[in-house]
């Protein structure tokens, strides 16, 4: 064999070598081309093509750049490459809905995208330059883009105070607070109030076991004016705060037995003045008179009643207290009398003010409630043994704790339950792996999880302890929005510095004023230095606004200043001494330094007053909103008694800049000259209600 043969290569090997070399070269040549087909390059080309076909090409392409664009804000931890594809966000000419995404301009909002980036508000993955990675939940990114309907959730991450620009967020927070979610969960920005549900220690005094049984079945059924179980309840009105727990009849019987068995001192029946009882017992119009009194005292400012109007059952009245349509079938008469007399004895933290009742009024109203606000059929279908069995009581006790009742309701001698549900203060930041989807068929993503968990807790976990809440239309979305805003402590230092904390001022009233303030629960409706309700006017500057004698009179006999208001100050029957104390305090303490009451004003002349009248009626046509006597608009307050009511300095200041005194007032800020202001003030201070006018005002007047 020739030695040269040792180097000879067979044809087969040659062929394999040739083929593999060719493929090798192809593959090496092709591999780098993958980059050309990146999604972002596709969108760059598309944008260029779109801009090319428009009249404003030059402007659109002025800062076009073929590479990757990004917004980089290291202190916000923002590296947002969204603008690589969303190239038109700053182009005002691309606002039309006809412009295809991702090129449409961003609507103008207070935060400029170039300063804040995109993911701070929208979430999603700013690093990504691929559609799916940027928008959806992926293995490498668990926080998808927030749907626009929930985007207000991210406003709440920094803005811990409610902002008017984010109505859904504010509504969601209000609902969460209103439904006492804080009873079981830790929540961001919400503190546990002193009382959530009523104290149940003495419930035996208040109601019957049958009623408790029925209430536990579905608290909403009691609000139905027709006696039918209505699944929707009053969808558009407020629901009872009590949610529906999943309990069977045995459990309900046990719980009601347990609650009714609490050893409490039975209240002594109130002894009415025998003359009053004797006089009114036989009167045929006793109940009607009671109803009139009930109306006059404006119970409906806080409580609602079901009323049939035009064939439809509607709830009329406020939502601060419970709805009362069937309360007569619920409460015991002796309890009702003692409650009306002094609610703070039964529920010290409750919101019900302590009225000053005359025996007569109390007798009449009590009869009205027990007679008219009842439903004889309400408890007809409740079948439970009369006597509570010992084992029922025992299992009721167990259930009370298992269901977490103690989170909201207190029973003397039982330990309050705390942190019954999971901590939700960082729920909006939870990653998919922290959520328990169970066997539920839904996208593995925080948003559908929250939606179905809140709407129907058992849809996610069949053994959920969470009860069933019912939301008005749209409120579910608001609650999800608010839950998404709870992202816990911000770890990014830049964002941490941006958090605008919710200042929740506490207003403590001391002394005699404090006692009356607490007795009449003024803070439930009025606001004092930032603390309190928003139903009625803010009283922080009441001393600057109103004259002291007027306040005294008003407290004794409240009148309505705004004709359109349905919620009116109740008739508390304030004593003279209390009226004096309250008015003194309001006039002296509740002042703003914008209005100088001590400044000397020259006396107004009658010429000024008539010039003011001219301005009022002709030039500025104030009567379009304000009423004087019976003529004029409904929007602003009735000015018929302005001279007695308002301080001169206040009127002057008000005409200068109303929003400076009451920021959310809708009084238009006009540019009055100094003369005009003086003239209008001069006119307004002449408006003093005389005896003859008093009769024509329907809601009473000053005495």
């Amino acid at each position: 064999m020739a030695a040269e043969d040792m180097g000879k290569i067979s044809d087969r090997v040659r062929l394999v070598f040739t083929i593999s070399s060719v493929i090798f070269l192809i593959v090496l040549a092709v591999a780098p081309l993958r980059n050309l087909f990146s999604e972002w390059k596709y969108y760059k080309r598309e944008y260029f093509r779109m801009a090319d076909g428009r009249p404003d090409t030059k402007k659109l392409l002025a800062d076009f750049h073929p590479g990757i664009d990004q917004i980089w804000q290291p202190n916000l931890n923002v590296t947002d490459r969204c603008v690589t594809c969303h190239q038109g966000i700053n182009q005002p000419s691309l606002t039309d809905a006809t412009i295809p995404q991702p090129f449409r301009a961003h609507p103008i909002i207070p935060h400029r995208a170039t300063e804040w980036g995109c993911t701070v508000c929208h979430r999603g993955q700013g690093f990504a330059t691929e559609v799916k990675e940027a928008h959806q939940t992926t293995l490498a990114w668990e926080q998808p883009i927030l749907p626009v309907r929930y985007i207000q959730g991210t406003c709440g991450v920094c803005h811990r105070t409610d902002i008017p620009e984010a109505p859904r967020l504010a509504r969601g927070r209000a609902v969460i607070e209103d439904l006492s979610c804080i009873g079981c969960h830790k929540l961001q920005g919400i503190e546990r109030p002193l009382m959530l549900g009523p104290d149940l220690t003495n419930i035996k005094n208040k109601t019957s076991r049958e009623w408790i049984f029925k209430w536990l079945k579905d608290p909403r059924t009691l609000t139905d004016g027709n006696g039918n179980i209505s699944v929707n309840g009053y969808e558009n009105e407020d629901e009872p705060r009590m949610p529906r727990f999943r309990l069977n009849d045995t459990e309900r019987a046990a719980l009601s037995a347990f609650l009714i068995d609490r050893k409490s001192n039975l209240i002594e029946p109130y002894k009415f003045d025998s003359r009053v009882t004797a006089a009114w017992e036989k009167k045929p119009d006793l109940v009607d008179q009671g109803e009139t009194r009930f109306r006059q005292m404006f119970c409906s400012t806080c409580h609602s009643l079901a009323v049939v109007r035009g064939g439809e059952t509607q709830l009329i009245g406020g939502d601060i207290g419970p709805e009362l349509t069937k309360v007569g079938s619920k409460v015991k008469p002796d309890w009702l009398v003692s409650w009306l007399q002094n609610p703070q004895a039964y529920l010290p933290q409750g919101l019900m003010p302590r009225y000053g009742w005359s025996d007569e009024d109390l007798y009449k109203v009590n009869h009205y409630v027990m007679d008219r606000l009842t439903d004889p059929d309400l408890l007809k279908d409740v079948r439970i043994p009369e006597q509570a069995q010992a084992n029922d009581i025992q299992s009721g006790n167990r259930l009370f704790q298992q269901k977490g009742c103690g989170s909201c309701h207190v029973i003397a001698g039982m330990k309050a339950q705390k942190d019954f549900g999971p901590d939700l203060s960082a729920e909006g930041a939870k990653s998919v792996s922290e959520l328990d989807f169970g066997a539920a068929k839904m996208p593995r993503n925080l948003i559908p999880y929250l939606e179905s968990k809140i709407a129907d807790p058992v849809s996610v976990n069949p053994n959920a302890r969470m009860p069933q809440y019912h939301f008005k239309e749209g409120d579910l979305g608001s609650v999800v929005t608010a839950a998404l805003s709870m992202r816990g402590t911000q770890t990014t230092p830049g964002i941490h510095a941006l958090v605008i904390a919710d200042a929740r001022p506490e207003y403590q009233a001391a002394g005699d004023f404090g006692k009356a303030y607490e007795r009449y629960k003024c803070y439930v409706c009025h606001r004092f230095n930032g603390y309190g309700g928003t139903l009625a006017p803010d009283l922080s500057y009441e001393g600057s606004r109103a004259r002291q004698p007027w306040i005294t009179e008003f407290l004794k006999n409240p009148q309505t200043l705004r004709p359109t208001l349905t919620f009116r100050m109740p008739q508390f029957n304030v004593t003279d001494e209390e009226a004096r104390v309250l008015a003194n305090y309001l006039a002296l303490v509740m002042q703003t330094n914008r209005v100088d009451l001590t400044a000397h004003h020259p006396e107004f002349t009658s010429d000024q007053a008539s010039a003011g009248k001219q301005l009022y009626e002709v030039t500025y046509q104030c009567q379009s909103c304000h009423t004087i006597g019976s003529a004029g608009g409904y929007v602003g307050p009735n000015l018929i008694n302005a001279g007695n009511w308002l301080n001169t300095a206040w009127i002057q200041e008000w005409l200068t800049d109303p929003q400076a005194l009451v920021p959310d007032t809708i009084e238009p800020h006009r540019a009055f000259t100094a003369e005009e202001k003086s003239a209008l003030t001069a006119y307004l201070v002449t408006l003093k209600q005389s005896g003859t006018v008093k009769a024509s005002v329907p809601s009473g007047g000053s005495r």
Binding site: M6, G7, I23, V27, A31, A140, S433
Partner: protein, 232 residues
């Protein structure tokens, strides 16, 4: 190379054509150059060409896979968020599966150390130098020892309820023992098993065991290292 030692010098190939290559071989070594010239080919180009082809094929496969399969990337490392189950890289999942059965000191330390020692020691025990079939000689004593050791192992696995190991071991041992009873010259498959040596059986057992444990650890273990079916 001191003068007083004797070496036998030999030439490995055709002196005139091949590069000079001197080999010193002492009398005591067993290594000998077996110069069967006909059997040989030049490395250049035969080996070199084949290696290039191998490299090209490898690159083609790798590049194509890299184009269409993206390396996984999960979320940012978070010590507070433990995935369930937390799994090691796939080549350690057999070990992790062992940890499920045996105490950590056995599965985590003893077994890996024994495996490494075993692998290192293989060439130094002339068990398989001749590749002698297991049942060639001293058949009965070997069978007794073999069965004894297998039974001890099975008991050990049984005590720890390591059933996947138990079953696999039992099947392989049964196949090995089957070779003892089968007379020579039957079907080719049985003949194949009969002619296997002891190290062959050991290594095969090891490889099958490692594969099964790795597959179980990779595909059949879910939350809390419980058994799950991968298609569910």
């Amino acid at each position: 190379m001191s003068e007083n030692r004797k070496f036998e010098a030999g030439i490995g190939s055709d002196f005139s054509k091949d590069p000079v290559r001197i080999v010193f071989i002492t009398k005591k070594t067993s290594a000998k150059v077996r110069g069967v010239l006909r059997d040989q080919v030049m490395s250049y180009p035969h080996v070199v060409l084949r290696e290039i082809i191998a490299f090209e094929l490898l690159t083609i496969v790798l590049v194509l896979m890299a184009l269409f399969w993206d390396a996984p990337l999960e979320q940012l490392a978070n010590p507070l968020l433990t995935p369930n189950p937390a799994k090691a890289p796939w080549y350690f999942l057999g070990l992790q599966e062992l940890l499920h059965y045996f105490p950590p000191i056995v599965a985590g330390v003893l077994i890996p150390v024994l495996i490494i020692i075993g692998l290192v020691a293989i060439p130094y025990f002339d068990l398989n130098v001749k590749g002698e079939p297991l049942w060639n000689a001293r058949r009965t004593p070997r069978l007794r020892i073999f069965c004894g050791i297998v039974l001890i192992f099975l008991m050990f696995f049984g005590v720890y309820k390591a059933w996947s190991i138990f079953v696999t071991t039992a099947i392989i041992a049964a196949l090995a023992v089957a070779g003892y009873f089968v007379p020579a010259g039957r079907g080719s498959a049985i003949e194949y098993l009969r002619s296997r040596s002891l190290p062959w059986w050991l290594m095969t057992w090891f490889i099958i065991m490692a594969c099964i444990l790795t597959i179980i650890g990779t595909f059949f273990r879910g939350p809390g290292w419980s058994w799950v079916w991968p298609w569910r």
